[in-house]
Amino acid sequence: MKFAIQINQSPYTHQSPDTAYQFTLAALKSGHEIYRIFFYHDGVLNGSGFTTPPQDERNVVARWSELAEEYGIDLVICIAAAQRRGIMDADEAERHGHAASNLAAGFRLSGLGQLIEAGIEADRLLVFGG
């Protein structure tokens, strides 16, 4: 089955990105497809590449990047939501005169159309947190 996932809340502050991760991992290991994970609202902070939690805590951001690398899943950060929350890819950073991007590896910025399209293409949409 083909799943689309929407994540609305910031990592660490809320458990919902953790639950979404556990769901995604279980789905992939059971042989299902994750068509896309769309990060909206404060959920865009899941792609904040400067995140450096204490060493005895899980790294929510790095965990997504590793999942994307291992399973090739599409991690899309809503660009409008990201601009309001200070997440930039290299293009955006250059355009605004910053010396570096803070988008974590494996994520890409794109528009809300990616959420709608995931709703069309996937068999199920699950929304985590809010």
């Binding site: 089955m1 799943f3 609305n8 458990q15 919902s16 639950t19 556990q22 769901f23 991992l25 279980a26 789905a27 290991k29 059971s30 299902h32 068999d123 199920r124 949409l125 699950l126 929304v127 985590f128 947190g129 809010g130």
Partner: protein
């Protein structure tokens, strides 16, 4: 269809708002802080009991364990893991998350 709730019943109206709208034959998954709704002898768990004959209730066992309430919850609830959560999402549709 599948309803998902992730908020504490004593800090959010999500459970009540969901129960009011869940149709006969639908499923409700309690996860994260919504797991507290299952503690016996509380207002939330007695509301849930009233709907058990027409709605199937599930809870994520990892959330029960994390919160130390494994011995305190009412019977008749299916305690599942993340793999079963995936199966549940496959068998039900659409999905409404109440947060």
């Amino acid at each position: 269809m599948l309803h998902i709730i992730n908020k504490s019943p004593t800090n959010s109206p999500a459970l009540k708002q969901c129960l009011k709208r869940a149709q006969q034959g639908s499923s409700i998954l309690l996860m994260e802080d919504a797991a507290y709704a299952l503690i016996s002898k509380t207002e939330a768990s007695s509301q849930i009991k009233q709907h058990m004959n027409r709605v199937s209730f599930y809870v994520l066992e990892p959330d029960i364990k994390a919160r130390g309430i494994g011995e305190k919850i009412i019977s008749g609830i299916q305690r599942i893991g993340y793999n079963d959560f995936v199966k549940l999402a496959c068998s039900q549709h659409p999905v409404q998350s109440w947060f």
